[in-house]
């Protein structure tokens, strides 16, 4: 095992009520700075795996360690604080809150964590600027395009400077052009040092962004390979 491992899964199994295991004896680790893409057919257990890493769900067996913290044994409150402090999540369908403006959506994790207001506002504006949606800061998500919404979601995921960015099919609900925007964004983030664990169907996304690719079939790891990223292809 690696000292620089940020994520460490050890023989993780997740079984829902009397079904087959959604995740079956999975072990793997992710080092800091890596961008790992998890690929696999629908229903193979990718989202389940991501939820286990995010502390949104608990494994039936096995251990999940992130940033030195045992995630599998956390209480609800402990898991919330863990998510708040160390991870950011991006979902296929954005999961923005319709009744909050883009800015308020982005600020939410910082506010829940009780960070100083001025600091978090400055950072939120910087993020919106960087991600190119500053002009939408006071708009409600319903008025934004899919790509803009996903960038707002990424901004929200990054507001607390998480050690780990988790993304579940981040381009799955986007048209090709918007998908490309988000793909470039994630690639850029990883090149700037952000560790990324992403679940996707989108081979282009995996190729452009991932430094490593894990294939899952029926809840088991089928292959774990260094990604072949054609030089300059993504940019």
């Amino acid at each position: 095992m690696d000292d620089a491992a940020l994520i460490e899964l050890h023989q993780v199994t997740k079984t829902y009520q009397d079904g087959p295991s959604a995740v079956d004896e999975v072990s793997f680790s992710v080092r800091r700075g890596e961008a790992v893409a998890i690929l696999g057919p629908s229903g193979s257990g990718k989202s389940t795996l991501l939820n286990l890493v995010a502390g949104l769900d608990r494994p039936t067996r096995g251990t999940v360690t992130v940033d030195g913290l045992r995630v599998d044994g956390l209480s609800e409150a402990g898991a919330a604080k863990y998510r708040r402090a160390r991870i950011g999540m991006v979902f296929q369908f954005f999961n923005l809150l319709d009744d909050l403006t883009v800015l308020d959506n982005v600020l939410l994790p910082a506010q829940l964590a009780g960070l100083p207001r001025a600091l978090s506002r400055t950072r939120a504006h910087q993020l919106l600027e960087t991600l190119g949606i500053a002009e939408h800061a006071h708009a409600y998500p319903g008025r934004l395009s899919g790509g803009e919404r996903q960038r707002a979601a990424v901004a929200r995921a990054l507001i607390n400077r998480p050690a780990l960015l988790l993304a579940d099919e981040p381009t799955g609900a986007l048209d090709t052009a918007s998908g490309r925007e988000v793909r470039d964004l994630l690639t850029q983030l990883n090149q700037d040092g952000q560790t990324v664990l992403l679940v996707t169907h989108d081979l282009a996304l995996a190729q452009s962004c991932a430094t490593r690719t894990v294939r899952i079939v029926d809840g088991r790891i089928a292959s774990d390979t260094a990604a072949v990223v054609p030089e300059g292809a993504a940019r």
């Binding site: 939820n51 995010a54 949104l56 769900d57 609800e76 409150a77 919330a80 604080k81 998510r83 708040r84 402090a85 999540m89 979902f91 296929q92 369908f93 954005f94 999961n95 923005l96 809150l97 319709d98 009744d99 909050l100 403006t101 308020d104 600020l107 939410l108 994790p109 506010q111 829940l112 964590a113 009780g114 409600y140 998500p141 319903g142 929200r156 607390n160 609900a173």
Partner: protein, 824 residues
């Protein structure tokens, strides 16, 4: 279209609207399908169903109680009066001034529609009753009338125990006199009478207007008349017009005018008896009605809220039902039925509880009126449920109609699409406020659904109103109890054996006969010498005629300045010397006098003018006593002397200790001191207090349930948002803060509006209750709310709201995030 809302719609589907599950069943048969839809709807919404059951139960309980008491307090007297051929007026006529023939002739006066008598009558003083092993009893003056039998043209006497008198030496006592069951066989002896007459009690009977204390066979009265006293007659009348005090007084004047001057020495109006009979329960009615109205209004709000919540939450389901071929009418019926089924249970329980609670109250009525039955009138038990069913159906009709009118496509579309979130600006501003974010998110939630928030706030307003009103009533009742108790101002009463200051005293006859009545001065000296005495005053009473009032009036005579304010002042002031008096409200009503007017007391044939200087809160006897300084009558009436003393103690003196030590001195001289605390057990007020507690608890509970219902709807609808909050790091505690925060404003509004409303209801209802008991109330009885109490009561609103939201808050905190987010 936003994904967030699709998530919510998905949640609603998961809650039981799976179309595939419904479809095959719904096709089988239309009636059966409707039934199944209704049953599934009821079963699925446990919280809403519970809320409906409880709110209708409360509404029906309050209605049944109100109806039962309303009928019990009004109808039985009139019923009994009709059944027993009651007399509008009973006159006592001096036989030395008018002959029996002259009296009988008054029966033919115009306006007299029926009459009874003349019956020979006598009032005997100083009797004793010997009940064998139970000891001897001093009897108050006893009015005895000759009657050939229990029937009569007027005033039929209903036998309540024993038998009618058939021979000389037998007497039937009034059941009002010793309660419904006097000791049969008791011997009444009258040592003042020549030959020492003895009567044996053979039965008890009830006169609906209380025309006498006892009845004997014809010919008996002659033997009961002391010495050379003039004969007296009782004459009973019914008049064509006798509905008001003024009419009865005019009728009396017309009869008196036909007789020689001053022949009429006493009169009893049926209105006095009616008032006394109704006074037992009539004061209950206004506040029970107030609670009943509060309960009904709350039930309407809650049922409307629950049903429209159910419609809102299942728009998609409605769309699916319609797509399957349900007609609008069927959908309307399904939703009304979903409201009616739980209500039916609530109504059943309500009828049960209403009847159970009414029985202890009616038992009291039974004692007062004698002929009332111990059950709730059947029409109340039918009308209350029918009324509430109609109310529920009507309340459910509007949202059900909305559901029925929706086009299938729209219903499905609405179920999916986001309703434009309302109140976004307010919520944005709240987000800027220096509050924890979870709390400000919660505070903003009601603005998204202002209609629902207002309905819940209204329920909390009514809950807070009820609690405020109830606490005010209880503390007013406490003051009233002290005011009505035997001289609220004094802690110890000293009675002399043979004295008539207070009430008839029952005691075991001391061996060797009773000592002579002590000299008041001796008793007063003993009280004054006793350590712990702060002040004391003497109390006596006598009978006098009052201008404008029929019959003899009790004059309560007070001696000493310490007597001031022994009855609470309603208006005017206390008397400052002789020839001034204070009187109860009922006296002013009956005579038409007012504070400041002068009345004439005629005692022993001497007319004494007395100025009324104040109206007091005093309900003893008929409530028509005159309260004045002893010196007003002591010069003209030898019987106007002190019969007991009321003692106020120095602070820190233990009444029990004081009484023990004082009695060591008093008992040898034939006087007895008692701790007044032991005398303060009115049976009505504990019943009232208990009733208020039950009704208030029900109303507050229902207000809490309204909040619960709304919070459950809210957390169900927002389950996806809650998942998102949690995914970005909202802790369970923050989730609870959010849900509780969403009801805080509602609770604050409830308190801020409900408390003043409760104070207003109290200010309105208490005087109405008092008027039913024929009195006004002192201002101090209304001013029961201090600033601290108001603030604390105001916090009751948020308290109700938070209690109501606690359960859904913890459900929200426990929902697994992954599950909530999977509704994608």
């Amino acid at each position: 279209m936003s994904r967030g809302r699709r998530g919510s719609a998905g949640a609603a589907v998961r809650a039981g609207d799976v179309p595939g599950r419904e479809a095959p069943r719904a096709r089988r048969g239309r009636g059966g399908a409707l039934g199944r839809v209704v049953r599934a709807g009821v079963a699925r919404r446990k919280v809403q169903t519970l809320v409906m059951v409880l709110s209708t139960m409360m509404a029906v309980t309050a209605t049944v109680l109100a109806g039962a008491l309303l009928t019990a307090s009004r109808a039985p007297f009139e019923h009994a009066f009709a059944q027993q051929n009651g007399a509008h007026l009973a006159l006592q006529i001096d036989g030395s001034k008018a002959s029996a023939a002259q009296v009988a002739a008054t029966a033919h006066l115009p306006g007299v529609i029926a009459s009874g008598g003349p019956y020979p009558q006598v009032t005997i003083d100083h009797g004793t009753g010997d009940a064998g092993q139970f000891g001897t009893m001093d009897l108050p003056p006893l009015t005895v009338v000759e009657r050939p039998g229990p029937g009569g043209p007027l005033d039929d006497l209903a036998l309540t125990s024993g038998r009618w008198a058939t021979a000389p030496g037998e007497i039937v006592l009034s059941s009002d006199f010793f309660g419904p069951q006097p000791t049969l066989g008791m011997k009444l002896s009258f040592p003042d009478l020549s030959g020492g007459a003895v009567l044996t009690v053979v039965g008890a009977a009830k006169s609906v207007t209380g025309t006498a204390d006892g009845w004997v066979v014809p010919g008996q009265i002659a033997a009961l008349r002391p010495g050379a006293a003039a004969p007296a007659y009782q004459m009973l009348y019914r008049f064509a017009a006798a509905g008001t005090d003024a009419q009865v007084n005019a009728d009396r004047a017309a009869v008196a005018a036909r007789l020689p001057g001053a022949a009429v020495t006493g009169a009893l109006s049926w209105l006095t008896a009616k008032l006394n009979a109704e006074r037992g329960n009539a004061p209950f009615v206004p506040f029970i009605v107030a609670f009943g109205v509060l309960g009904l209004v709350m039930a309407v709000i809650i049922i409307g809220n629950v049903v429209s919540g159910a419609v809102g939450a299942s728009l998609r389901r409605i769309g699916v039902l319609k797509a399957l071929g349900f007609t609008p009418a069927q959908v309307v019926r399904a939703y009304i039925a979903q409201a009616l089924i739980p209500s039916a249970f609530g109504i059943g329980f309500g009828v049960l509880f209403g009847n159970l609670l009414a029985v202890p109250l009616l038992r009291k009525t039974d004692l007062v009126i004698g002929t009332a039955s111990l059950s709730v009138a059947a029409w109340v038990d039918i009308a209350a449920p029918v009324g509430v069913v109609a109310l529920v159906a009507l309340t459910a009709f509007a949202p059900a109609l909305r559901a029925g009118r929706l086009r299938a496509v729209d219903a499905i579309a609405i179920g999916r699409s986001p309703t434009a979130g309302r109140g976004r600006t307010v919520r944005r501003l709240l987000g800027r406020a220096p509050l924890p974010r979870a709390f400000s998110l919660g505070l903003g939630a009601p603005f998204a659904r202002p209609g629902r928030a207002l309905a819940v706030a209204a329920a909390v307003v009514f809950g807070a109103t009820a609690v405020t009103f109830a606490l005010g009533l209880v503390s007013s009742f406490q003051q009233i109890q002290v005011g009505l108790s035997r001289d609220g101002a004094s802690q110890v009463s000293v009675d002399f054996a043979g004295g008539r200051g207070g009430k008839s005293v029952m005691h075991v006859a001391p061996v060797g006969g009773a000592p002579a009545a002590p000299d008041p001065a001796t008793v007063a000296a003993a009280i004054a010498a006793q350590p712990g005495t702060r002040s004391y005053y003497g109390v006596g009473s006598t009978q006098a005629a009052v201008s404008g009032l029929s019959g003899a009036t009790t004059v309560r005579l007070l001696q000493g300045s310490a007597a001031a304010y022994s009855s609470p002042i309603i208006s005017g002031s206390w008397f400052t010397g002789p020839d001034q008096a204070v009187v109860p409200t009922r006296f002013l009503q009956a005579t038409g006098a007012s504070v400041g007017s002068t009345i004439t007391l005629t005692d022993n044939g001497v007319k004494v003018p007395v100025r009324i200087v104040g109206e007091v809160f005093y309900l003893r006897e008929g409530g028509t006593d005159v309260i004045t300084d002893l010196r007003t009558l002591s010069a003209v009436d030898p019987s106007a002397h002190v019969g007991n003393y009321e003692v106020k103690l120095k602070p820190g003196t233990d009444p029990a200790q004081y009484v023990r030590s004082l009695n060591k001195v008093l008992h040898p001289v034939g006087a007895d001191a008692q701790d007044n605390a032991l005398d303060r057990h009115d049976s009505t007020l504990p019943i009232l207090d208990g009733l208020i507690a039950i009704l208030t608890a029900m109303l507050a509970t229902v207000a809490g349930l309204a909040v619960l219902n709304a919070a459950v709807l809210e957390t169900r609808e927002r389950v996806h948002d809650l998942g998102v909050y949690k995914s970005v790091g909202m802790t369970p505690r923050q989730t609870i803060t959010l849900v509780l925060g969403s009801v805080v404003l509602i609770g604050l509004i409830g308190g801020a509006v409900g408390v003043p409303a409760g104070v207003a209801v109290h200010r309105y209802v208490l005087p109405v209750m008092a008027h039913a008991a024929a009195t006004n109330v002192p201002q101090s009885y209304l001013a029961v709310y201090g600033h601290t109490e108001m603030v604390l009561l105001g916090l009751g609103g948020p308290a109700i709201a938070i209690l109501g939201a606690l359960l859904p808050a913890s459900w929200a905190a426990r929902t697994r995030t992954a599950t909530a987010l999977r509704t994608e």
